[in-house]
């Protein structure tokens, strides 16, 4: 009990932080047959933004989306067989997402697709971060976007650069 508290405590301390601590999942990389690890902090985000071509409408949209973001962090593991990660691994992430400010927008539980959760962090009325947690038998993916995520702009990316159509309705602006 004390041991589990000691494990969870650091994540509770970071609960209000829009950036999730994903390092607890690093040990899964050794078991996975495919790992995606994206760490783009604010500095890299600004550098990458310089490469977007303003004359290209698609790239301009992506640039608009990432402007103002503080970072994008992704950890995704695909395994050959089931049972390579445990509920405790997921809990290290969920514990942070239960902190104040985070709101779970959607929780989809599917036998075929696994469990999908979408969280938003609200600073007052402003969105301060986004988290997506997807787990099924052979896959575990965590996406963490830090900063004011504009879902309208995200919806505008549909069908571009291999981004699938989401069908997200744009919110009406007054």
């Amino acid at each position: 009990m004390v041991l589990s508290l000691l494990v969870i405590l650091p994540f509770v301390v970071h609960a209000q932080d829009p950036r999730l601590q994903l390092s607890s999942l690093d040990h899964l990389a050794g078991k996975a047959n495919q790992t995606v690890d994206v760490n783009v902090d604010e500095r890299l985000m600004k550098m990458a933004a310089k490469l977007f071509n303003e004359k290209d409408a698609d790239e301009r949209q992506v640039k608009k989306l990432v402007e103002g973001l503080k970072g994008i962090y992704v950890k995704s593991f695909e395994f050959d067989s089931a049972g390579q990660f445990t509920t405790a691994d997921l809990e290290t992430i969920r514990t942070q997402l239960r902190g104040p400010g985070w709101t779970r927008l959607v929780n989809v539980m599917s036998k075929k697709e696994g469990n999908l959760e979408v969280y938003l962090l609200f600073n007052g009325e402003q969105v301060g971060g986004l988290a997506v947690l997807h787990s099924d038998e052979k896959e575990l993916t965590v996406v963490n976007i830090v900063g004011p995520v504009d879902l309208d702009k995200l919806a505008e990316l549909e069908g571009q650069f291999g981004v699938p159509e989401l069908g997200i309705e744009k919110t009406k602006k007054n």
Partner: protein, 174 residues
Amino acid sequence: MKDDYLWDKTGQPDPEIQKLEEILGSLRYQPKPLELPLELPVSRRRNYLPLLAIAASLLLALVAGGIWLRARTQRAPQLHEAQYVVPPSPIEARKPEPITPKPVAPREEIVVNHKPRHRSVAPVLSKREHEEAVAAKEQLMMALRLTTEKLSLVHRKTQNPTPANQIKNQHRVG
């Protein structure tokens, strides 16, 4: 001769003439030194020569500066274009466009049609920074692709729920 007196004062003078001489003698010219009044208004002529010299120098400097700038900007575009060329991003690489060589304008036309160019606002990245930015951009695009893929899955599931799925929307945690 009576009239000789009138010409050279010889001969017998005429009393009438002598009388007239006495009367008009007071008005005779009497040489005396020029006396200038003490408070004579002096009108100084302004000497514009130094001012003209300064104006001419300034004008010459301006003309020389203009010629120098013109000569400099005629050579600058080539350097400018070489400096700010950004290599095509992986996204651009996927959509190759045929490269059409630009017709080279005659030198005279360049000079005549030359317009002062505004310097590009895109800062120059060093080679290392550029490589870092390209890698960051790739990571960014991968993260966005993964995020939108997951959101698409969520959208699909929430729009077409199967009875086996358990969906909870707008559930606030924390």
